[in-house]
């Protein structure tokens, strides 16, 4: 058996690949569900129902998908330029930190001015967090995978320190949490009496914008060229270093915005469990979407549905809700193989 590159990948294959990967992941995880003794089809039925079976389920899934779209975009943008940003989790918390500092009553601005200010500041904080590792990479050749990962731990400790110190809410009953953001810094709800907020529109808008940048501008072209072959791009006269740093700011900014939106749209204040691993799940979202900015939306909704549905399922059945994380990880690995098969075909001999 050997792999032979395809000259041309049919569009149908590219669209079918994520579907096939998810189907394979569901089939593999069915073994685990069966091991728990729960009836597999019933379990998956409950999962689907919990994710999309009611108005409440649907809005919960979309609420959960909102930060995932942003962290998914963050990963997709960076991976396209072969900048291996594994630090979206930390960048998200830096964005959230900026949101509670500026949105906590420090700036006395009307809502139409305060919200954009907080968002830009959060994005800047996230971008600055990734800029460090990016500079170390282009300047000293330090591998960014490890530095961005280690920064996640450092940022979480920093947040923990501030939540127990300078940012601690005096009204918080001693819990390590920040004071809530002021009303003018809250994102309006999208659907009344649900948790779904207008952050979803921001995420969708950015997904569309990034797709336009990607296909219609010189920026997008440079990003892809640098990702495909940095030496060739440099030879063609492209400012490789500048493209890398620009990508870092953009990617970190998107992750930082995810933090702002979670604070201003959903939680209202900052705690250490603001993100249940949105930064890491964003990597899976990006891979399922094959790094396509619009595909990220679909992938994020799918992953969010798995998490929301698995919670509902594990309340009704003795299946631990960690099955959601297993499903997501398996989907990622299956997607890697499916993606390979769209680019290569298996030949005998």
């Amino acid at each position: 058996m050997r792999l032979e590159p395809r000259e041309h990948t049919p569009l149908a294959a590219r669209l079918l690949a994520p579907v096939a990967a998810v189907a394979a992941a569901l089939a593999l995880c069915a073994l685990l569900v069966a091991w728990t003794g729960a009836p597999v089809l019933r379990a998956y039925g409950l999962l689907l129902e919990g994710a999309a079976g009611s108005r409440f389920a649907l809005t919960e899934t979309l609420t959960r998908a909102t930060p995932l779209i942003l962290t998914g975009l963050a990963a997709a943008v960076a991976f396209r330029a072969k900048l291996w940003n594994i630090g979206a989790e930390g960048q998200l918390y830096m964005g959230a930190l900026a949101a509670v500092v500026l949105g906590g009553g420090m700036l006395d601005l009307p809502a139409w001015l305060l919200l954009p200010t907080v968002m830009i500041a959060g994005a800047a904080a996230g971008g600055a967090t990734l800029l460090g590792p990016a500079v170390l990479k282009v300047r000293f050749g330090v591998d960014e995978v490890v530095t961005t990962l280690l920064l996640n731990f450092i940022v979480l400790l920093l947040v923990s320190m501030l939540l127990e110190g300078a940012l601690k809410d005096p009204m918080g009953m001693g819990w390590p949490q920040s004071a809530p953001v002021v009303e003018a810094a809250e994102l309006p709800k999208l659907v009344e009496r649900t948790r779904l907020h207008t952050g979803l529109l921001v995420a969708l808008g950015l997904s569309a914008l990034l797709w336009l940048i990607d296909t219609r501008t010189i920026w997008g072209y440079e990003n892809r060229a640098v990702g495909a072959n940095p030496r060739a791009a440099a030879f063609a006269g492209m400012p490789v270093t500048r493209v890398m740093l620009r990508t870092a700011l953009l990617s970190g900014g998107l992750a930082g915005l995810a933090g702002v939106i979670e604070v201003c749209g959903l939680k209202g204040y900052l705690t250490l469990d603001l993100s249940p691993g949105f930064g890491y799940s964003g990597i899976v979202v990006a891979m399922l979407a094959q790094l396509h900015p619009v595909g990220v939306v679909g992938a994020a909704v799918f992953i969010a549905g798995i998490f929301v549905g698995a919670d509902a399922m594990s309340r009704a059945m003795p299946v631990p809700n960690y099955i959601a994380d297993v499903l997501v990880a398996t989907s990622l690995l299956c997607m890697l193989v499916a993606g390979l098969l769209t680019r290569y075909r298996l030949r005998r001999g």
Partner: protein, 307 residues
């Protein structure tokens, strides 16, 4: 001056160095495992997940009634299996080593938690086992058998890498796979073997945590140790002896900050001390990056006949 004296007092105490060796053990094992994979040309970001897997599987085996050493073996086998997954994806299929590794970490971690929760559904306080006890060897710092095993494994890996044909093969496929293939070696087979063996070592690092350092499995127990091992491999310039040195230095720093925290904890927030290991790892990467001599085929998939 007073701080200097405190540090000096800590550094000369035997209890300190006993702690250092204990803290260093998972770093030694994990770094050796990662080093073996990278020497064969495969970056293995699955280390964090495999350590979690080893910690859970080894502990679970003992909790279900197995002997402690049988638990160690179970952990190594599980690690090897996860390594086979990473190797299959990255070597014959040539998929992105970064993304496959993240996938293996996510899978290893979540699968460990899933299995633990499934077997012990309502354990609010983690159940415990009887772990390895420190040996009372004359003239040595009292350590558990797994620490001595880790020290011996450093010598074994160094010997195999530099003094045996197998080691030569591993180094060759990491430096120049085309030349290795021309010599009649199967690059695929050597790389898969190295990743499986390296992953078994990573799982031992995890098993040390539950079978030797502690007596229970709890969530987030690996807590970034795997990623630090990756930094230590760079620091060690891909050499087993230097990996041992790096792990011990790092552990000494960690043990020192733990003790300083008790002295200066009232003045400085404890999180500052906890940040030190991560900051130190980044600093080490920066210092070493300039003169780092990567295995030249690291992260480059090899396909026969393709250049």
């Amino acid at each position: 001056m007073e701080l200097f004296q405190t540090i000096l007092d800590i550094l000369v105490s035997a209890a300190f160095w006993t702690a250092v060796l204990r803290i260093a053990t998972p770093y030694i094992l994990g770094t050796l495992g990662e080093l073996l994979c990278e020497r064969a040309g495969v970056l293995h970001l699955g280390i964090e997940g495999i350590m979690t897997m080893g910690a859970m599987a080894g502990w679970m085996a003992v909790y279900q009634g197995a002997d402690l050493w049988a638990g160690v073996l179970v952990a190594a086998l599980c690690g090897g299996l996860m390594g086979l997954l990473h190797a299959t994806l990255t070597v014959p299929l040539g998929l992105s080593q970064h993304v496959a590794g993240i996938g293996v970490t996510l899978l290893g971690t979540s699968l460990s938690y899933f299995v633990y929760r499934l077997v012990l559904p309502q354990a609010s306080t983690p159940p415990t086992i009887e772990p390895f006890q420190p040996l009372d060897l004359p003239g040595a710092l009292a350590q558990t058998p797994m620490t001595y095993m880790a020290l011996m494994l450093v010598a074994v890996v160094a010997y195999v890498l530099y003094r045996t044909p197998v080691g030569l093969a591993v180094r060759m496929v990491g430096e120049n796979p085309a030349a290795a293939e021309a010599q009649g070696l199967s690059v695929t087979a050597v790389r898969i073997g190295a990743v499986v063996a390296g992953s078994a070592l990573m799982a031992l690092a995890g098993a040390f945590l539950t079978l030797s350092a502690f007596n229970a499995f709890f969530f987030n127990m690996v807590n970034g140790r795997g990623w630090i091992c990756i930094a230590l491999v760079v620091f060690a310039s891909w050499r087993p002896g230097k990996a041992l040195l790096g792990a011990v230095l790092f552990a000494a720093f960690d043990a020192l900050q733990l003790r300083l925290q008790q002295v200066a904890g009232g003045v400085l927030p404890y999180q500052l001390f906890l940040m030190m290991p991560y900051l130190l790892s980044i600093l080490a990467l920066v210092l070493v990056a300039r003169r780092a001599s990567y295995p030249r085929a690291l992260m480059i998939p090899y396909r026969k006949g393709e250049r």
